[in-house]
Symmetry: D2
Subunit: 235 residues, 4 copies
């Protein structure tokens, strides 16, 4: 699984936060990552990658999208090298709000690997995840579009089936389950059931105290990990 640790947490503010406000959340999340030693991916607008990188030390600053162009033309496009030099360590690809063609996705993952960027690739169904697994992303996020932003969690059998099936194709791909994760309980449940990682957007940003919510989620991930070990001996 390379640089991806099991378990991990993704804090994904999408386009809700930017500038000073996202920096505040990033700094708080950085302290949580430091204390808990949990691997936390933190996404931000492209404009804030360097800003957050310069003020944090433990979180992996994560771009929300990228293209496969090389340095040259490409007015307004998202150049991988520009993300990397700014300090991004990972990148989301093929999110339902920013989908890629089969060919773009294949080529962009190849570019990310060459630059050493961790890829978090979204799939809209288990069938799509199976296809995308052929591209060997670092993390595969299986997230039925219908559930995004609804606060509705994928049910246990879905989580179990998804995790097992992707692991059976390629055990080196980390499985992330994040559909409708809102509370620390949701986080605990998903990790306990076998997902390598999870994360949230509105569950965090709409919480009364977003930093506290991140703190609780980090603890829930680690508690689920301990409980998994106790039962199965699984790492």
């Amino acid at each position: 699984m390379g640089k991806v640790k099991n378990p991990f947490l993704v804090v994904n503010p999408k386009s809700y936060l930017y500038g000073k406000k996202i920096l505040q959340l990033a700094e708080s999340t950085d302290k949580i990552a430091e204390k808990s030693r949990l691997q936390i991916f933190f996404t931000c607008p492209f404009t804030d990658i360097r800003y957050i990188r310069e003020h944090t030390h433990f979180i992996i600053v994560t771009a929300q999208h990228m293209e496969y162009l090389k340095p040259g033309r490409g007015m307004g496009h998202i150049l991988p090298e520009s993300l990397q030099e700014a300090g991004a360590g990972a990148v989301f690809l093929n999110h339902a709000e920013n989908p890629l063609t089969v060919s773009q996705l294949s080529k962009t993952i190849i570019r990310a690997k060459k630059l050493g960027l961790i890829t978090i690739v979204c799939a809209d169904s288990l069938l799509e995840a199976t296809a995308i697994a052929e591209f060997k992303p670092d993390i595969l996020l299986c997230e039925p579009t219908d559930l995004i932003g609804t606060g509705q969690v994928a049910d246990d059998s879905y989580i179990l089936k998804t995790t097992e099936q992707i692991k059976s194709i390629n055990p080196d791909i980390a499985v992330m389950i994040a559909s409708g994760i809102t509370t620390a309980e949701d986080v605990y449940n998903v990790i306990k059931l076998g997902a390598d990682g999870t994360g949230g957007t509105s569950g965090i940003l709409k919480a009364p105290d977003p930093v506290r919510r991140v703190q609780e989620m980090a603890e829930a991930v680690l508690q689920a990990q301990r409980d998994r070990k106790n039962v199965t001996g699984r790492q």
Copy 2:
């Protein structure tokens, strides 16, 4: 023409440069802007807007694209507020390498105006420029796609006709002509013929000494301005 001065110069490295290398060119351009007092727009990848803003004082840091979404969802999309807070003072829209639908363009220009971002909007023909003029961009760049990157300059009659026609629709819109501008002579000619501004990408980046090319272009703009005044008294 609001915050846009006549004449102006646009240094547009597209995706050729990023990180430290674009910062170097930005800092050199900033000195040229300071000494010459010429208004210079300098475009950069989204990741480098704040980086360049923090190290320069005279150039207008310019985003290469933007969308009209508001803070919220929009994974990987280009939020206007994120550009502005990072320090962008202007934004290119509808470039041939990143075209917008009629509706997107209309809505994005409205968003830019509300945020106080100068809009540099591209048109692929004089007819398209005439339509786009209705959206009242600050700067209208009329650039037949066929000429982009060819090093072939639009001919004099095209420049005269384009400038006059756009001015006749709305004298408050600055006219930029940049097709195939390579040398300082090209720059001089275009401004002398009446364009409010011009700029370049490969003409600058592929020059033996890019900073010197920017310097020469800046001087050519100002010389053309002086020569225009001498002849016509026109500002």
Copy 3:
């Protein structure tokens, strides 16, 4: 206004109907067009253009979209010549469900004019309509996206303002108002207020008897025309 008559009616089944079922509605509409002598545009899937053309004589078979490519490559794209030879006499462009970039729209309207296809071009706001008017479409359909499919009609002042403003830019462009037109009363009102044409999708297809609804709408258009003449003498 060329081949466009004032008033006119547009029957637009979008992708609700195809094959035999759309042919039935087309044949019934053709009889209504014959008896009423009203100009009726009838849209259909690309596959059904020739089918409907071969079985009707009075309606103008109308494509729902088109691109500006020329014969050659373009796998799966919508070639203007293929629509024309199949029997299309008109084409919708820039519908909110199929928007075009500024450049595509400009070039596609030029292609349509050369082939003699009537263009019905959609705009999402009055501002966008003003810009699109520069491309001289035959019919301009001003339809705020928010209202599409809601059954909510644009209010009277919107209809009056839109019609007047587009006429003031170019009196040769026919103005179509169709937002949320459901009943014959809606149709009457819009034409009475000065629109050159109107039309509907769900208002027709979800009516208890779609053919009868088309019949009523056709009568309402003609009655509104007569009442307009009586009041204003306007043609």
Copy 4:
């Protein structure tokens, strides 16, 4: 392999031909299909599907693209049901000139299967083909974009490797190789090397006598099949 026979030939006029001219080629191809008993897929613009279906009996009329929408809204989009009722028996998907997102491709193949349409799905590399194979298309066309329209044929080792690898993933998927196929010799070679099918666009349309070229290609396919059997006993 269901309704797909081994070997098969694809005649793909893209947007070069339409109306009467494509009908002529289709009718000639139909006679070739009848006499040779070879399975021939014949693509055409959407407007000509029914036209060709009504005048031919042996070729499989093939749409060049389709979307996954269901009957309803979808102005100008390509409704699967409309293709099927018009007489299409197969559909190309994800062609390099009309690429689909991962999610669109997955969903559109599912729609095609439900309607009984044979899917011919394009991949831009062997890696992409491997991923797409998970969606179980009927025919997988592996065609590096760089070679399309160049008249340059993929080399023998590429053909062998591609065919074997896709067969090893799923022996039920027919493998089509078509990069730069121009002559009957190219066709013979590809089928002899193990591809299930091949086809062409410019190789046919730019031939001095396109019908004769189709005839020669059909013979080459069958001859290669016989020679394959003689050597390997393979069907």
